[in-house]
């Protein structure tokens, strides 16, 4: 099994402003994201041979994209994979290019969450159906299950653990101030985060990411073609996707102190990219901080921190912009909000810009290897993507 390493390249990307975009519909967002990507790649819409369109609650079928961009009679697949939908959309386009069935592919994710009352639907029914015959699984409560058990398992007092989570919130808000496209661009304090209203114990308002509209797009081609288009193209090093099989709610062995989908996806990605010491080999990571606890657990699940030691790394400032391994350099979901199928591509956009040295105020000194991570769904039913990127 060869894997995807160095078989495909990103030659252009686009990303809209994320936020409550009351005056734009999903097609406006698609046009804005894709045309920025076309311009970045130096191509036109007619150069796109195949496309993948990611959306969860925003429009059915690839025709939404075809109509918005007037892509005439090319194959477009719609991808839905919950919060990992954006990265999975990208992944499908990469595999098509790597297989040789097309030379230039477009991957774009979009979501108009704010056209729904209250944004992203609060109620997800198991098994993600709408028949209302089983219990509701609100996202905050699902991730709070992990936080409660993590605290219990490692013997944390609520106030002490809350301070650690709040430090993650503060870090991401600080990074967000330097992201012109972010939804929230203001500093917060640890005290603010700790004292914010409870959403779902033990997670408060600032432990949760926002809900927003947005779109992000990538142009994918082969390294050989990329070389002719630009010098600073970015190579895909690994693409991993895992899905839970319901273990959390069936098996008492499931421990709620780790997300096994992330652990496994990370192992696959590191193997594919040939990374053996993630903490030292990865220069930056943009991870799925839908809730602060998710980011904390992800530090351990991605092998950045030893088991149970992520809080120590948070206190040491390991994951700040100036730290040993900056995480969520653009402010993460915390500051961008989470238009589900757009988020993964927004993360890749940040890694792409950092690796090109075009991340502006928040540009890292060393950015050669970048990682993105999404985890979507509910405990036991997560789908998780881990992707790695590098320079040619």
């Amino acid at each position: 099994m060869e894997g995807i390493k160095d078989k495909v390249a990103i030659v252009g990307m686009g990303c809209t402003k994320f936020g409550e975009l009351w005056d734009k519909n999903h097609k406006d967002l698609l046009v804005d994201a894709c045309y920025e990507a076309f311009e970045d790649a130096g191509i036109e819409s007619k150069d796109i041979q195949m496309a993948w369109y990611g959306s969860r609650e925003t429009g059915f079928t690839g025709t939404q994209l075809a109509n918005a961009l007037k892509l005439e009679y090319i194959p477009i697949s719609r991808v839905e994979n919950f919060c990992a939908g954006g990265t999975d959309t990208f992944r499908n386009a990469c595999y098509a290019v790597a297989s040789g069935v097309c030379d230039i592919a477009l991957a774009v994710g979009v979501e108009k969450c704010k056209d729904h009352y209250g944004g992203f639907c609060m109620d997800i029914l198991d098994p993600f159906d709408r028949s209302m015959v089983e219990w509701e699984l609100p996202p905050a409560s699902q991730f709070a299950l992990l936080a409660t058990r993590y605290m219990h398992h490692y013997g944390w007092k609520y106030e002490d653990f809350k301070r650690i989570l709040s430090m993650i919130d503060v870090k991401n808000h600080h990074n967000g101030t330097m992201s012109p496209k972010a939804q929230f661009r203001r500093e917060i304090t640890v005290e603010q985060a700790m004292n914010a209203p409870m959403i779902s114990y033990p997670l408060g308002l600032f432990d949760a990411c926002g809900v927003s509209d947005g779109s992000a797009a990538a142009i994918i081609t082969t390294p050989a073609i990329a070389k002719k288009m630009r010098k600073d193209y970015i190579l895909v090093r690994a693409l991993a996707l895992t899905n839970g099989a319901g273990q959390a709610i069936i098996q008492p062995e499931y421990n709620f102190i780790s997300i096994p989908e992330t652990v496994t996806a990370a192992e696959h990605a590191y193997e594919e990219a040939g990374i053996t010491d993630p903490r030292n080999e990865v220069d930056l990571a943009v991870v799925h901080d839908c809730f602060s606890i998710t980011e904390l657990m992800t530090y351990e699940d991605l092998q950045f921190s030893p088991r149970g030691k992520a809080p120590e790394d948070v206190e040491a400032g390991t994951f700040t912009l100036e730290g040993e391994l900056p995480v969520n350099t653009d402010g993460g979901l915390k500051c961008f909000g989470h238009p589900l199928s757009a988020s993964g591509l927004r993360m890749i956009y940040e890694v792409y810009k950092q690796l090109q040295g075009k991340a502006g105020e928040r540009q890292l000194k060393k950015a050669d290897v970048g990682l993105t991570h999404n985890v979507g769904g509910v405990c036991g039913f997560f789908n998780c993507t881990v992707a790695l990127f590098g320079k040619p």
Binding site: L125, V133, S200, A245, I249
Partner: protein, 468 residues
């Protein structure tokens, strides 16, 4: 020899202080939680009644109530499912009269006597509404009782019965009425309750040749605090020693369920040889004489009336009661879910109503909900049903949601629980105080209502902290 072979009861955890309804009003009334109704309470009482009894042996279930959530649709079938009775049993709904509890009892006795059934569950529940702040609202309580009728291992034999009927407009609820209507007290007392119940008891004593002094206990339905005592006194009984306490101060009048619940309380205190008189009321009266047998000593492990009455949480928030009963409207969300699927309800009935998980016949792993492929050994379709509703469990982890709906309770507690003997599920925790929720908390399962939409009541199981 036909009689009662087992008993059970259910009184909700919550009690509303009557002071919260009207200044100076005394005592508490039992109120069911927002996710309970007559069907869930009847299921709880039936399950209490079946403690230590093989549910496969039950061949009938009669459910009596004046407050079924459905006008047209059986409640008995839902209670039978929650109680996990086999499918080929006779079920029947008794309704429309406060006498429905004893109507069901009479029918069960007759069925066993006639030999058409061996063990019939009779369960009655009510959650009646009086106009807010009215004496009726203060007097009514919510609860359920259950009696198992059979002809072997009888703990109290049915010696005799006597019934009268009486057409009178004293208390009624017409189609479409939410609250009880009534005529004035002076009329209803004189020609209603006192006259009719008195007539039934006098008729029964005459028929059996028994004197008031021959009875160890007199169990009387009562609409309020005083009425049964006045009647007992008038009939020559000693109120202090003979009249069963109607638990007016800590429960209230539970309508159709009251005669059964009070009989359960009397049986809890009874000894072999005791004669008990039972009388109901509701456009007539059914009166029974029972005699307690030696078997009474073998009844153990039920919460019954005593256990349920002792386990309580008093609230003094009248507004919360009004919201729970749907009397005070609250802002509901823009619905994100459009419907409850009848096919899905039907298809998942064993998992959702019986709370059946499965046990893998290859590796023994217990799993909920039922799977096609084993989560452990991946064997396909090699499972046997496994009842989880009667298993205790412990909380593994939980969350407490302060923003999600329903707004009928805050916070909404979600918990992953591990069952004693194996198996895990994720569920709601109800009847709980936020402060008591913690990892390791022992819980038990309780049959509750999840959602109501388009008149469809979607029942499911939730966990509750172990009631002690």
């Amino acid at each position: 020899m036909v009689g009662i072979t087992s008993y059970g009861a259910y009184v909700p955890l919550y009690r509303l202080s009557r002071e919260a309804i009207a200044r100076g009003a005394r005592g508490e009334k039992a109120i069911c939680n927002f996710d309970e109704d007559s069907i869930t309470m009847a299921a709880a009482a039936s399950i209490d009644c079946l403690t230590g009894i093989d549910r496969e042996t039950i061949d009938g279930l009669y459910f009596a109530t004046t407050t079924s959530p459905y006008k047209e649709k059986s409640g008995a079938a839902i209670v039978a499912m929650a109680t996990d009775l086999k499918e080929n049993v006779f079920t029947a709904d008794f309704a429309h009269s406060l006498r429905a509890g004893t109507s069901a009892l009479m029918s069960a006795i007759d069925a066993v006597k006639a030999g058409s059934a061996k063990k019939v569950m009779v369960t009655a529940a009510d959650t009646r509404l009086g106009v807010p702040t009215s004496p009726y609202e203060q007097n009514f309580g919510d609860g359920a009782g259950a009696l198992l009728i059979g002809d072997s291992n009888v703990i109290a034999t049915i010696e005799a019965s006597y019934s009268v009927y009486s057409e009178i407009m004293d208390v009624w609820r017409a189609d479409g009425d939410t609250f009880i209507r009534s005529w004035e007290d002076r009329f209803t007392t004189t020609h209603g309750y006192t006259a009719v119940v008195g007539e039934a008891i006098s008729g029964l004593l005459k028929k059996t040749g028994l004197k008031p002094g021959d009875l160890a206990k007199v169990v009387l339905y009562t609409p309020d605090a005083r009425r049964s005592a006045d009647l007992a006194k008038k009939l020559g009984f000693d109120v202090k020693t003979q009249l069963q306490d109607p638990f007016f101060n800590n429960m209230g009048s539970t309508g159709t369920a009251l005669p059964l619940m009070l009989l359960v309380a009397a049986l809890e205190e009874a000894k072999a040889g005791d004669r008990i008189l039972l009388a109901s009321y509701g456009n007539g009266s059914d009166a029974f004489v029972l005699q307690v047998t030696e078997q009474i000593q073998k009844i153990k492990g039920r919460r019954g009336m005593k256990g349920h009455l002792e386990s309580k949480k008093v609230i003094d928030d009248y507004k919360q009661y009004l919201v729970w009963r749907g009397i005070l409207p609250i802002e509901l969300r823009k619905e994100t879910v459009a419907f409850i699927s009848a096919p899905a309800l039907w298809r998942e009935r064993d998992a959702n109503l019986r709370f059946h998980g499965v046990k893998c016949q290859v590796c023994g792993t217990i799993q909920y909900p039922p799977q096609r492929v084993c989560t452990k050994c991946h064997a396909k379709d090699q499972f046997e049903p496994y009842r989880l509703s009667d298993k205790k469990a412990k909380i593994f982890t939980y969350s407490m949601d302060y923003i999600t709906y329903p707004v009928l309770e805050r916070p909404v507690v979600n918990a992953a629980i591990d069952f004693d003997g194996g198996g895990r599920t994720l569920c709601y925790l109800t009847d709980r105080e936020a402060e008591q929720v913690q990892c390791g908390l022992p819980v038990e399962m309780s049959f509750r209502k999840l959602f109501v939409k388009d008149g469809i009541h979607n029942y499911f199981w939730k966990a509750i902290p172990l009631r002690t």
